[in-house]
């Protein structure tokens, strides 16, 4: 397998396997501290901090270790980020922005979107000039890492791993070579045998995508145990299934990202909410924390119906707009079932 080049990716639906097969080490582009003068000049306030940082650092040439940037059609902010970067690349001196690639993956679960997405996936495989054998190797590596993510989540369900620690560990799934990740996680998990969650209320976090584990830590400081989060950086990182190894690789990769990944654009709603509904039905949740800042323009539309559903099941919940606000009182009011 060719190796050595780094591809920056913006979220969970960039097909890691295709990039890996093409010799890239895909790395999730993260938020980092510091001012964002380029973003302040070109971007409106509507963009999340992480996308502002990505735009800023790329325009500044600060991330020149990246050989390529791959952006999926998984959120509108990523779509706009692509258009903005494209325009900067067009109008600024050559070489400032790494080569951009857009993966037009749609999330409406219709036959047309399926066919379109499969064709776009095949096109990406052609564009990156990868062989079927290289894809199969990459799929095997990626699936091993998914297995490790599930082991992390299992450890947490057993009450032996704090939510914040789980989030930190899962981070490697997006930032490391997945082979390396899969090699080091089992030993770390083996060492975690102590029960840390006894009698602490189990909380599920739902809402806007989390950028790190800071909200988890606040819950933990208040005495809660974050047992899951409806978030691709956490409980949903590996999805329900692996990339199927008994199909042609293009179809298998596409179906994984089409059917089993998180996106605000998934429609219909029952598919979008299926994971969350199952978690609630499993009855291991003592309370739900909705993290919905006023800058959100997506999750807030689902909230009233989700709140009504929780009330019908007598599951307490709280809305947190900023880190902290009513959180400690809420956690203090909960009891482990």
């Amino acid at each position: 397998m060719r190796k050595g080049r780094i591809a920056g990716i913006t979220s969970n639906t960039v097909p890691w396997e295709i990039l890996r097969a093409a010799g890239y080490s895909p790395v999730l582009l993260e938020d980092e501290a510091g001012p964002t003068p380029h973003a302040d000049r070109w971007m409106e306030d509507v963009f999340d901090r992480r996308f502002r940082v990505i735009f800023d650092r790329l325009c500044a040439g600060a991330w020149n270790h990246l050989h390529r940037i791959v952006i999926p059609r998984t959120s509108e902010q990523e779509h706009k980020l692509y258009l903005y970067l494209r325009e900067i690349a067009r109008t600024q001196p050559a070489g400032v922005i790494p080569e951009l690639y857009f993966y037009n993956l749609l999330h409406t679960r219709t036959p047309e979107s399926y066919d379109y997405g499969l064709e776009r996936t095949r096109q990406m495989i052609r564009d990156f000039e990868v062989s079927e054998d290289e894809l199969r190797d990459a799929i095997a590596e990626s699936n091993r890492a998914r297995g490790c993510v599930r082991d992390i989540l299992q450890k947490r369900r057993e009450g032996r791993l704090e939510g914040s620690a789980a989030i930190e560990m899962i981070r490697g799934f997006y930032s490391e070579d997945r082979g390396v990740f899969a090699g080091r996680v089992p030993d770390r998990l083996k060492a975690m045998q102590e029960q840390v969650a006894a009698h602490r209320p189990h909380i599920l976090i739902k809402g806007v995508p989390l950028k790190d584990a800071s909200l988890h830590r606040l819950v933990e400081e208040a005495g809660g145990y974050v047992v899951a989060e409806d978030d691709w950086r956490g409980s949903r990182a590996a999805g329900e299934t692996d990339v199927c190894v008994n199909k042609d690789p293009a179809t298998a990769i596409f179906e994984k990202y089409f059917y089993d990944e998180v996106s605000p654009r998934v429609h219909p709603a029952e598919h979008r909410d299926a994971w969350y509904q199952r978690e609630i039905e499993r009855a291991h949740v003592d309370g739900v924390l909705f993290y919905v800042p006023l800058e959100d323009d997506v999750q807030g539309w689902d909230y009233p119906e989700q709140l009504a559903h929780l009330k019908s099941r007598s599951i307490p919940s709280v809305v947190v707009r900023e880190n902290g606000a009513p959180l400690a009182d809420f956690v203090g009011s909960l009891h482990r079932k």
Binding site: R41, W42, M43, E44, D45, V46, F47, R73, S75, E76, H79, K80, Y82, L83, Y84, R86, E87, R90, F102, N104, L106, H107, T108, T110, E112, S113, D115, Y116, E119, R120, P264, R265, H267, P268, A269, V292, P293, L294, E295, D296, D297, V298, G300, W301, D302, Y303, P304, E305, L307
Partner: protein, 421 residues
Amino acid sequence: MAQKQLTSTIAASEGQKAWFASLRERVFETRAPYAIGQADMPFELFQAMDVPMVSNQWWAAVVSAKRLAPYYLDKLNEAGFHKGLCRYCSLSMASTVLGDTSQAPWGGLPKPSLLAARLTCDCVQRVFETWAEQCGAELILLDAPAATHLPPRWWEQSRHDWRELFEDHRLRFMVRQFERLIASLERISGRKFDPDRLRTLMEQVNRQEEYFEEVRLAICNAPKTPVRMHEQFTNVMAAQWQRGSDWAVSQAKAFRDEVVSRAEQGIAACPNERLRIMWVGAGLWYDLDFYTAFEESHGAVFVWSMYLAFGPDGYIRYGLADPLLALASRTVSMNEQLHNPPWANEWIVEQARSHRIDAAFVLTPLGTRPSATGTRFVEIALEEAEIPVFSVHADMVDARLWDAEEMRRDASRFLDHVGRR
């Protein structure tokens, strides 16, 4: 509200009210099906199937203009939807399912059979899902793959070379989605889709937009604009929502005749015109007086908005052998053309130059966040073209965020500065 100067404006307003009254009558008395859809949906398909469609944004504008937006938006917040959520696309829903719906303008919207939207943001599907559930209406959503081929000067290719411009895979995908929409329309209306009828309608749309192009040219060439911007709104949008119909084409022609005649006679909308102003963004529907507020004090006349200008460049399609494909090309890239780089900034600068614009007012929507993207690129492109920019941070329908006095004061200061240049 400034006096209407054109008889075609009065006819357009009356035509729209009459259309709406007849829609209510048909729906309530004969249970005829009708649809509510986003402004960037292919209205032509509904027209060709005799299923009337109300534009979501148009209705939100009407509710806002009647000063009812604060009431319904408060109801939306009381129902648990937080205050930061988008308002332009949700106000119509609120006016049909929350609070006292009988307060809505002109008796309110009857219950639709179909709700339809293109997914150009991440929230509109949720608004329409909620709405469809509340109304028991069928829901059709069209997905929106992104453009990756965005060559310069799109408006020079969009009329004849649209197949190449809009990417074959996106066009074919949109046609397949249209086929699903058509199947729904056939089921709802009990009528069979006729591609020849759509082709004829598309030809009529071309004619309508050619009239608008003549109006645009008259505004560009006249020493002083013969028609105010807010009268352009009324004439153009009344026709666009029913584009291709006999009424719409005839309304566009009447508008063209009147504006061209005024230009030929040297009649200015504002004889005091000294500064030609461009408005970038959706209208301030609750304060249309803003657009005439600076005529007397500064001779500043709003002459340009996207509503008229986009008609010819965005809608005309020649080569209608495959009318569905041509319609797909009209639909797939509206968001890129109007709002996002590189297409929106380039087109708007071109428009500013051809209209001899002295200054631009650029709206950054506060309460409709996804619509805000692209505005910085537009502002910077205009400034680089030496056109001064006044940034307006406001919502297009939510008057709760608008301080009319303060905005007029700030705008006056800006225009003082522009006038001294």
